[in-house]
């Protein structure tokens, strides 16, 4: 699998075809009006509304086995998986490599889900419903993973993927302590280390590839930022560098250790960093409100806006694809938040605050 990437990375991509398809799909996502309608519906109505949209096939396929909000959630996941799988199917050469880098995030998610499922003794069917087949791992391999008898078998099944190298040593740790943490960290590390590996360093900051690299770096930086903020908030006495991911521009390991205890210093460090301007609003939210959730929403909104600008500036590049991926992820998150919120009888205004809308 990784071999395929290396060979392909130097061939030209079919940008015209993929961006045309992606733009069409981007246009058919829910807009503000749809959200406004959805927020006022009950769970049953949401399910019926979704049957008349993009999600029709998935709702019908899953309707027999699930119901209510679960149905909505599984349909969302499956639809997301279908579309992202399509992206990888369409794309060739360079473009495939660039898209796959980001979509492997779902591989990492699936691998972790499988580990947790096996660890908690869930049945293969239960694990399978929680998988999102959007990444590079094939459906067949995922099925076999879900059916694995033990964690050791699952790790064995992952040989030949990007996770192989990191999971080997982690498995020994797992066998020593009997906790999943080393395996989960190894999965994340494998994902983040391939995220930037082999990206051309020479690409200028203003070319699409350069911008994409900056986006991936931002992904790492925000992950680091989120981790360190959580540590600072919870006041847990943990070594922040244990969760540090390399490759970002925001912190290095030493800085992280100094900052981890003081939230004001973290905010100040971000403000003086290259992200200062883009995240100005998000930082204000963080200072005023006491919730990390709103800060994360602000980060996501900032990313979404940035990727839209980029896709207009570089129409034949990876940027429109990226903008679509982000927008689709937000849509799925939003609809899920609405469905869960309505189920819990939250106020429409309250739910609207949970949404990330531009």
């Amino acid at each position: 699998m990784s071999l395929r990437i290396d060979e392909q990375a130097y061939e030209a991509g079919n940008y015209e075809y993929v961006t045309a398809r992606v733009r069409s799909r981007r246009a058919s996502l829910f807009d503000d009006d749809d959200y406004r309608k959805l927020v006022r519906m009950g769970p049953g109505e949401i399910a019926r509304f979704m049957e008349e949209t993009e999600y029709e096939t998935e709702m019908n396929a899953l309707g027999a086995r699930h119901s209510g909000v679960d149905l909505v959630e599984f349909a969302l996941n499956r639809n997301l998986a279908k579309h992202f799988e399509d992206l990888l199917r369409f794309a060739e050469g360079r473009l495939y490599d660039l898209i796959a880098r980001y979509l492997r995030k779902f591989d990492a998610w699936n691998v972790k889900t499988v580990f947790r499922g096996i660890y908690s003794g869930a049945t293969p069917e239960e694990i399978e419903t929680d998988l999102i087949e959007a990444g590079e791992l094939s459906g067949e391999r995922l099925d076999r993973l879900a059916a694995a008898e033990s964690i050791e078998d699952a790790v064995e099944l992952l040989s030949g993927t990007i996770f192989e190298d990191e999971l080997g040593p982690a498995l020994e740790d797992y066998q020593d302590v009997g906790l999943l943490v080393p395996l989960e960290n190894a999965t994340d590390r494998a994902f983040y280390s391939t995220l930037l590996a082999g990206m051309p360093d020479t690409a200028e900051g203003d070319s699409p590839i350069g911008l994409y690299r900056e986006f991936l770096q931002a992904e790492i930086d925000f992950r680091n930022l989120r981790n360190v903020l959580r540590l600072a908030r919870s006041g847990a006495d943990m070594d922040p560098t244990a969760y540090y991911i390399e490759g970002g521009r925001l912190f290095d390991e030493g800085q992280l250790r100094q900052l981890a205890t003081n939230e004001e210093q973290i905010v100040e460090a971000v403000r003086t960093s290259p992200y200062g301007d883009d995240l100005e609003d998000a930082l204000l939210v963080l200072e005023e409100a006491d919730s990390l959730i709103e800060f994360e929403h602000a980060i996501q909104a900032a990313l979404l806006e940035y990727s839209d600008t980029m896709s207009n500036r570089y129409p034949l590049s990876v940027c429109p694809v990226l903008a679509y991926i982000l927008a689709k992820e937000r849509e799925v998150d939003n609809v899920r938040a609405i469905a869960r919120g309505r189920e819990a009888n939250l106020d429409p205004d309250e739910i609207e605050r949970e949404l990330v809308i531009l």
Binding site: E16, Y17, V18, A20, R21
Partner: protein, 86 residues
């Protein structure tokens, strides 16, 4: 000075007498060929995008077709050159 003038007249005379490396009709044919090549290259990208758009939405067929063949005008304009040389 006079030497230069004679040299220039000799060179010019020779220029008018010798047949051009590419005769006018062949040059016109080359122009059409190159224009068609350019049109083909332009249509490659547009066609790929158009097929992508049609795959998502059937109603884009007409628009996609028109946009795909637009660069064909380049060839038609190049054909004008042929008639000018005839």
């Amino acid at each position: 000075m006079t030497g230069l003038a004679t040299l220039a007249s000799v060179v010019l005379q020779e220029g008018t007498n010798a047949a051009p490396a590419i005769p006018p009709l062949a040059a016109a044919a080359l122009a059409v060929g190159l224009a068609a090549f350019g049109a083909g290259y332009a249509e490659r990208g547009i066609g790929a995008a158009a097929v992508g758009a049609i795959a998502e939405d059937d109603s884009m067929f007409g628009r996609g077709l028109i946009l795909t063949v637009l660069p064909e005008t380049l060839v038609i304009l190049a054909l004008v050159v042929v008639f000018l040389t005839l």
